[in-house]
């Protein structure tokens, strides 16, 4: 167990190192002199010289990387040039909003994806299975921002039962908070539900032909008990860990969902930063999402290891 843990944690160190190289490298993609790009409209040579010195642009590339990485390791992700606030503060400010949205979306995807995957596998080859597969294809093919528009047109414009945009913190009014997030959560969880359905279906199909399921049936157990107690519990192990990998998809989707529903989260932060040419914020957001994704994968792997006795043996 300990050897596995040490080995697994050791892998994330070089991965994080390369993530930092990629994110630092983004700045090198800026066409022309980065100091000019950072200065924006300002063309005063003194300002440009000041920026060049402040951001160590007059130093060789490896030195600049070392200085940047040193700052990152001390929690200094730079400063937003538009809002004049440390990037880390901005990220921490927006993170709870996106975390709540992503959490609700995961719930939606689990509640839709797992039952439909189980039913599809149990009714393999029937119209129900066909219908569930059509649902999965629909989920994978629908751009979530378009689905957001369709939801707004139906539930906000036509029926007038849900707010079209905005966000109310749960601490202020939990009811309105849920009302503002229910549509975005469904929109964001839709594609993940399709992925979960496919994973659950294939895991269930595999498990349903296993010897222990045949034994359970041979004992004369009720089919419901065989499916829910014997098959599903085993099929869920890979499904739940694969669900953790969906986190990245949800974060990508959150950028668009937050834009459609005007939710002031992580996604909106990066889009606003892109248009304000606030490159430190863009880098900070990518670094934080990548780190979160790596850590979540680590936890998923450890959880998989812990809940699967065959791996521990």
């Amino acid at each position: 167990m300990l050897t596995y843990l040490i080995g697994r944690i050791a892998i994330i160190i070089p991965t994080l190192f390369f993530v930092s190289i990629i994110i630092f490298g983004l700045q090198q993609l800026l066409p022309g002199d980065p100091a000019l790009a950072l200065a924006g409209e300002e063309r005063d040579p003194q300002v440009i010289q000041f920026l060049r010195h402040k951001y160590h642009l007059d130093e060789p590339l490896p030195v600049r990387y070392a200085l940047w990485a040193q700052g990152v390791l001390h929690g200094d992700l730079g400063e937003s040039i538009r809002i004049n606030k440390p990037v880390l503060d901005l990220v921490l400010e927006k993170l709870p909003v996106t975390a709540e949205l992503a959490g609700m979306a995961i719930l939606v995807s689990l509640l839709i994806g797992i039952p439909s995957g189980v039913i599809s596998a149990v009714k393999n080859g029937t119209v129900i299975d066909y219908g569930a597969n059509v649902f999965a294809l629909w989920g994978l093919s629908t751009p979530n921002f378009w689905l957001g528009f369709l939801f707004i047109m139906l539930f906000s414009v036509k029926l007038g039962i849900l707010p079209a945009s905005g966000f109310v913190p749960p601490s202020e009014d939990l009811g309105r908070n849920l009302a503002t997030l229910v549509m975005p959560a469904f929109v964001l969880g839709n594609a993940s539900a399709a992925v979960m359905m496919r994973h659950t279906r294939s895991a269930m199909l595999q498990v349903m032909s296993a010897d222990y399921v045949r034994t359970a049936r041979a004992k004369g157990l009720n089919e419901r008990v065989v499916v829910l107690k014997h098959a599903l519990r085993n099929a869920l192990i890979p499904v739940v860990t694969l669900g953790a990998l969906e986190f990245g998809t949800l974060l990508s989707g959150a950028v668009l969902t937050e834009q459609v529903f005007t939710i002031p989260g992580f996604g909106k932060l990066i889009v606003d930063a892109v248009f304000n040419r606030d490159y430190a914020v863009v880098q900070g957001v990518v670094l934080c999402t990548a780190t979160a994704y790596i850590l979540l994968n680590l936890f998923a792997d450890i959880a998989y290891f812990l809940v699967n006795p065959r791996l521990r043996a």
């Binding site: 892998i11 983004l26 800026l30 294809l137 378009w146 047109m153 990066i270 892109v274 990548a290």
Partner: protein
């Protein structure tokens, strides 16, 4: 025994001396979903190529007397906020979307496949370093990395395609490497080594042709993802720039008129959905046809 007999009969019926590719193509043709997907993709490709002949109006032609008009006989899909014909813009928008889908995947393939072959075939330290880089790229969520790349490269369609291509590349490196690892220990590769073939010939002549099937499947599904990614970047203003039409940028404009002119959002979104669904159907069908284990 029965299974073996059935398999033998099937292979005899299909012509046992046929090339495996021909047999796979025959299996593909028998899959209705894949054929429907292929037909729709061909339809959209033709529309994109012959857009000037098919579209009833120029995509940028404005008509101030027909601003935000609902669908009529003169404008089947209605008009937008400055009186442009939505149908014509959807037709011309197919060019940006399909081109972005294909070019991005070509970028991913042209870097991802050689790197995957190199990593899988050479192995050792190089494989370790390349895989850590791929892990690092996969750790950055696909669209967030594409947004960041597009932001730093500058907002236009070419840069969006480069950004999507780079962001989608790690999946191809991983897949090619995994396939290379399992193929390089096959007897025919060992035999090719034993007779003194140079490494480059072994990789290009003996390994690559045998791992093409899963790469083709992945490429087809990646086109679908790339079309959504281009639409997403254009929706955010990082792809095709106005007034040039693109389905994503049309949706970006439409979001301000959802209550007054909902048709501005219906059609470009439906076009994305139909094309992406078609590529997904085709990709699923290809996977089933090329890999009999999935049948």
């Amino acid at each position: 025994m029965t299974a073996i007999l059935v398999d033998r009969e099937t292979s005899l019926a299909e012509g046992s001396d046929d090339q495996p590719w021909r047999r796979a193509m025959r299996r593909l043709v028998r899959r209705r979903g894949a054929m429907v997907g292929l037909a729709v993709v061909v339809f959209f490709v033709l529309i994109a190529v012959f857009a000037p002949l098919v579209a009833p109006y120029a995509p940028t032609a404005t008509d101030w007397g027909a601003v935000r008009k609902a669908p009529t006989l003169a404008h089947w899909f209605g008009t937008d906020e400055i009186g442009r014909d939505v149908l014509s813009r959807v037709i011309f928008g197919a060019r940006a979307s399909l081109m972005a889908g294909v070019v991005s995947v070509l970028i991913s393939l042209s870097f991802g496949v050689p790197l995957g072959l190199l990593s899988g075939y050479v192995g050792g330290f190089l494989d370790g370093v390349l895989m850590r880089i791929v892990d690092a790229m996969l750790a950055c969520p696909f669209l967030i990395l594409a947004i960041a790349l597009a932001a730093f490269l500058g907002p236009n369609l070419t840069n969006a395609m480069i950004a999507i291509g780079i962001s989608a590349m790690p999946a191809f490196v991983r897949l090619t490497r995994a396939q290379t690892l399992s193929t390089k220990v096959e007897d025919y590769v060992e035999a090719a080594k034993a007779v003194g073939n140079p490494h480059i010939r072994i990789v290009l002549r003996h390994i690559l042709p045998n791992i093409l099937a899963p790469i083709m499947v992945q490429a087809t599904l990646a086109i679908a993802a790339a079309i959504i990614a281009e639409a997403s970047l254009s929706f955010l203003g990082l792809g095709q720039q106005p007034p040039a039409p693109s389905w994503g940028s049309m949706l970006n404009t439409a979001k301000n008129f959802l209550d007054q002119a909902p048709w501005m959002a219906w059609w470009p979104g439906l076009a994305i959905f139909v094309v992406v669904l078609s590529f997904n159907l085709l990709g699923d069908g290809l996977r089933d046809a090329l890999d009999p284990r999935h049948r």
